[in-house]
């Protein structure tokens, strides 16, 4: 069970797909205009991810190595179709909100990435937990981004209005806002991580340029003497005599 817990921690914190691996950027930027959208997208992806990892891991001995990518895609596409039909039947609101991005889960890099990197090499149970961990990390990332965008752009959290409409910075619910929030959150998390790693890589470099003004005097102030004085021996200070 230790391996399974480690997988969960790995997915949510250590290799968080949104803030660390930077995978699945398309849904991350496109559907996170509100916290609920982000949460729904994350959960849907998590279900697909956990099941696809489980199935792929279970059949990993049967799939020939050379056709593994098409085989993975077929499995993932079947699962996505099932999930989409279930959403249409039971949560039509979410289905309408996410629209085209549900079928696009098939080509989400996280799913193929985990299948290739983990599920095709490990037994089913840890693989499933790997999928759940990654899915939770993805959900966390999307929900956080969605929360900030919703709060700044349309003044609410999960649909609860707390900021009057006059103060809505509506660029945050548009495409540029997604980039601002993603970059800001990633920078903040990196900062936290650097600090917990003993401050490595944090803080300013303090590259202060040396005082260049002095070099003229240091290098070049050479007093020259007349050539005939050079022959005049040790008491050069007096400047010799003819």
């Amino acid at each position: 069970m230790g391996a399974c817990r480690e997988r969960l921690y790995n997915g949510v914190v250590k290799e968080n797909p949104t803030f660390v691996l930077m995978l699945g950027m398309c849904p991350t930027l496109a559907v996170t205009s509100s916290a609920f959208n982000g949460f729904g997208m994350g959960m849907t992806t998590m279900v697909v991810l956990a099941l696809s990892n489980l199935v792929i891991s279970a059949v990993r001995g049967i799939i020939p190595d050379r056709v593994r990518i098409p085989a993975f895609i077929v499995i993932v596409a079947s699962l996505v179709t099932i999930v989409q039909l279930l959403l249409q039947a039971y949560i039509p609101v979410l289905n309408d909100l996410l629209g085209i991005y549900i079928p696009l889960i098939v080509v989400n890099c996280i799913i193929l990435g985990r299948a290739e990197a983990y599920a095709s090499k490990n037994p089913p149970l840890p693989s499933m937990f790997d999928g759940v961990g990654m899915g939770l990390g993805f959900t966390l990332g999307l929900t956080l981004i969605g929360m900030f965008r919703e709060l700044l752009g349309s003044g609410g959290i999960f649909g609860l209005q707390i900021i009057p409409e006059r103060f809505h910075i509506s660029i945050f619910v548009m495409a540029p806002g997604a980039f601002f929030v993603l970059a800001g959150l990633t920078a903040m998390l990196n900062r936290l991580k650097n600090r917990s790693n003993g401050g490595a890589g944090s803080g300013g470099q303090g590259t202060v340029c040396g005082h260049c003004g002095g070099c003229g005097n240091l290098l070049c102030s050479v007093s020259r003497e007349e050539p005939d004085h050079l022959s005049g021996a040790s008491d050069a200070g007096k400047g010799g005599s003819v």
């Binding site: 809505h168 007093s223 020259r224």
Partner: protein, 319 residues
């Protein structure tokens, strides 16, 4: 008897210009003053508050960020003040004060400091902040009024097909953002900058000429001087061409590149004004032009003396 001669040999450069960042920025502030004073006198006290708020918050943002990041304080070079002033001049006169403050913080922290401070930003901070605000608060950023009476900007009137009084546009007694209305005040400032050698006329003139040519060819009005002068004097073109497009950091350093950049800005502004949904297009044209500056420099980099035919610089040149 000969004396001991002490001769000094120093490393180059031997000749130094007296230009420094703070002197240049000071000149820009002086050059913007006529437009700022006109805006305050014409639009009233609230315009003064808007300018003050944007300048103070720009300085505050710079100070807070540099203190927080333990960087060298660069308040005294005046670049934050110029950014704040330009942003304030780009605000409608009756805007609530928190909007320019938010804009200044965005300009300084996101556009300038996060990319490494003065000299590293790839976009004009004031214009990027203006576009940020324009997208975010379309309603408030587009409501212009004079003495409490809502008015349309000259460009909007021209687009409706109405005739505008060109003398009013030249003097600046018309609607618009605080700093753009008076072409006379802006030209005074521009003349000062040219006289002091802070800017060269290459970018502004190629910008304005190519813009006029584009309007003549594609606006469907031909060489209608009334229309062309209205387009020239009525919007943010004067402010943009003389003060924003000539920003050292975000314009090309090569001479041919500057001409090319000006022509590009003229064409983009023409496209936005004629075919776009908004009557104004200077800000977007300039920030898109800013993005293309590294490429412009790359194709216009002159060959070093003695190296024969010009070769494209392999590495990306400085932006």
């Amino acid at each position: 008897m000969t004396e001991n001669k002490l001769m000094q040999v120093s490393a180059s450069p031997h000749g130094r210009s007296s230009a420094s960042t703070s002197r240049i920025m000071g000149d820009v502030v002086i050059a913007l003053l006529p437009a700022a004073i006109f805006g305050v006198v014409y639009f009233g006290f609230h315009a003064f508050l808007v300018l003050l708020a944007s300048c103070v918050s720009a300085l505050l943002a710079e100070y807070a960020f540099e203190r927080g990041m333990k960087k060298k304080l660069t308040l005294s070079d005046g670049s934050a003040l110029v950014t704040g002033l330009l942003l304030g001049l780009n605000m409608p006169p009756e805007i609530p004060l928190w909007i320019p403050i938010l804009g200044s913080f965005f300009a300084i922290i996101v556009v300038k400091q996060l990319y490494g401070g003065l000299g590293q930003n790839f976009m004009n901070p004031a214009l990027a902040a203006r576009c940020f605000l324009l997208i975010s608060f379309a309603g408030q950023m587009n409501s212009f009024s004079v003495d409490g009476v809502a008015t349309a900007t000259p460009l909007a009137l021209i687009r409706e097909g109405e005739r505008v009084d060109l003398l009013k546009l030249f003097l600046g007694t018309c609607g618009g953002v605080i700093g753009e209305t008076s072409a006379l005040a802006l030209l005074l400032g521009a003349a000062y900058l040219l006289f002091r050698g802070v800017i060269s006329p290459r970018i502004p003139l190629s910008y304005i000429c190519s813009f006029l040519l584009f309007e003549m060819l594609f606006a469907g009005r031909g060489a209608d001087w009334q229309y062309l002068l209205g387009q020239l004097l009525g919007g943010g073109l004067m402010l943009g061409a003389w003060f924003m497009a000539t920003d050292y950091v975000t314009s090309p350093i090569t001479k041919n590149g500057q001409m090319l950049y000006g022509i590009l800005l003229g064409i983009l502004t023409g496209i936005f004004r004629i075919f776009g949904s908004s009557p104004e297009g200077v800000s977007y044209a300039i920030i898109i032009g800013n993005l293309l500056v590294p490429f412009i420099e790359r194709i216009t980099m002159p060959a070093a003396f003695g190296t024969g035919r010009r070769q494209y610089v392999k590495k990306a040149s400085k932006g």
